[in-house]
Symmetry: C2
Subunit: 314 residues, 2 copies
């Protein structure tokens, strides 16, 4: 059984929310910030995890936020992964690695075992499939999974991912073939080579839920049907502007993807305080980790329900 | 003055060799491997740096090799960067990051300052130019530089980098426009925005020196002339199969690029022992760090001279 099968079952049980622990120090309530940023982030992460564990399908930890705090930050990163895995919930290491095969092998050692062991990683495909394949061996030996960047949710997506191709091998005729299609097509073949028990391969793809108008909604629906065997990690929700309706276009039969939200969950406490006309920054802010974690829980539940309603209405 | 200007001057002074410290424990002489892999790697790195400091234009440290050893490995990574910078030589952090702008900002904090401060980083362009630009601000404030993946030296390069495009914006007419051209073109524009004092912009590109036959040699020459303002980081030499003649095609007027070699330098001691019919593995191997570092120095000098001769003969 692959981790991707377990993720499918977690979604069936608890909904589509992937809680993104992109925990910068400024997302921690002011009164909880101590002498060590990394320590304060770790403590807040634990409170967030406890408050959302029955609402989250999985967690995603953005390593950049921890690297920015140096070695102490990476210790907090390792502790966060360990804490989530001990609670029996799946965690995605958002590391977007992509390098030649020898190097990919070393990265896989780093992130599929040891101090930084995660259940899934994110990968970047630019250098080609020999930068993906060394990771793929861990699907068979340890059930590990990955989400490879396909079509992301940022503005710069149009610079390269969106470029139209000539004669790309293996692409269906008659549809505009963009770089992201060439990637999706290769990933789809890879997923066929390691089919899971719920119709999705061991490795999936990143497909973004940026706000969509008519043509873009059609495109999202086409992506979903064209890559039916790819489980999606869907970023762009909430603070990045994507709505439940946008994310739902990338789901399939009420499953098939997890939707990540980071800031809108980690900083839900500031939104609640502002709405109540109370101080949300500085030394007079009364919020503590308990309040912030409960606000995060409320935001995660609202998000879960909104996505499920949007998926039903589709 | 940008770090790229300093790198140009280092090449003029000491040649094109970039010593790649992809120091896995198996590259350290057996008798120098102690209880801590990370400690042994760091000690070997220091010996290598001392032995090659007047021969290397710069160093490149592949973070994957250190991540694979967990937190202790990353401490050795940080120490290695610090050691090189204290000696007044430039170091490239080979991290191949590429993420949305908020995240790119956090990565830049991590790798252009703090525990992991380097002079250059490597970046992956898949997600678009908004994943590159946050790094670029550090060119102005701190002289920092980057090498963005353009055309790499691995087999999988053909999967995506090499795909032909339709209507890619800003590409010259009449030449086959591949994905790597779209990247090169954007990088060239970026380099024009921050021109250095020696004809190369603050940010350069990765262009691989894999073995080349006729058409491939022409392609390399075309890449060199098309992206004249991009300083190149050239991987693929030595253990990856590229020769001095291949690397020289990507140089310009005897400068314009550094050529990376990792294994062929780090493991030169095994080659020398084998050639002499002596034991090169196991407890009976007599090589120590001093011998291995001197062998590395000889390999680096031979490589420097071969590239300079090839560049002259071009």
């Amino acid at each position: 059984m692959y981790n991707m099968d377990k993720l499918y079952e977690a979604v069936a049980e608890r909904g589509h929310v992937c809680v993104g622990l992109d925990t910068a120090i400024e997302y921690v309530p002011p009164r909880e910030r101590g002498s060590s940023d990394a320590g304060a982030v770790l403590t807040y992460n634990k409170a967030l995890i406890e408050a959302t564990i029955d609402v989250a399908a999985c967690y995603k930890v953005q390593i950049a936020c921890y690297e920015a705090m140096g070695l102490e930050g990476l210790r907090a990163y390792a502790e966060t992964l360990r804490y989530i895995r001990r609670r029996g919930v799946l965690v995605i290491a958002d590391i977007k690695r992509g390098d030649i095969s020898d190097t990919a092998r070393r990265y896989a050692l780093a992130h599929f075992g040891g101090d930084f062991e995660a259940d899934f990683v994110t990968l970047s495909p630019y250098m080609g499939m020999d930068s993906i394949e060394p990771w793929f061996e861990y699907a068979e030996t340890a059930g590990k999974g990955a989400f490879v960047l396909m079509k992301t949710s940022n503005r710069g997506m149009r610079d390269f991912e969106y470029l139209e191709l000539r004669n790309a091998p293996g692409l269906p005729a008659g549809v505009p073939s963009r770089l992201y299609d060439a990637v999706g097509n290769q990933l789809s073949a890879l997923a066929r080579a390691r089919p899971g028990i719920h119709g999705y391969g061991a490795f999936g793809a990143v497909a973004g839920a940026e706000p969509k108008s008519g043509a873009e909604r059609e495109e999202a629906a086409a992506i979903r049907s064209r890559y039916a065997n790819l489980f999606f990690l869907i970023p762009g929700y909430g603070a990045q502007g994507g709505a439940a309706e946008d994310a739902a276009l990338l789901l399939r039969d009420g499953n098939g993807g997890v939707v990540n939200a980071s800031r809108s969950i980690l900083r839900a406490w500031t939104v609640e305080l502002k709405a109540a006309g109370r101080t949300h920054e500085g030394p007079d802010c009364e919020a503590d980790n308990h309040f912030a974690a409960e606000a995060a829980r409320r935001a995660a539940i609202a998000m879960r329900d909104a996505i499920q309603a949007a998926a039903r209405d589709l």
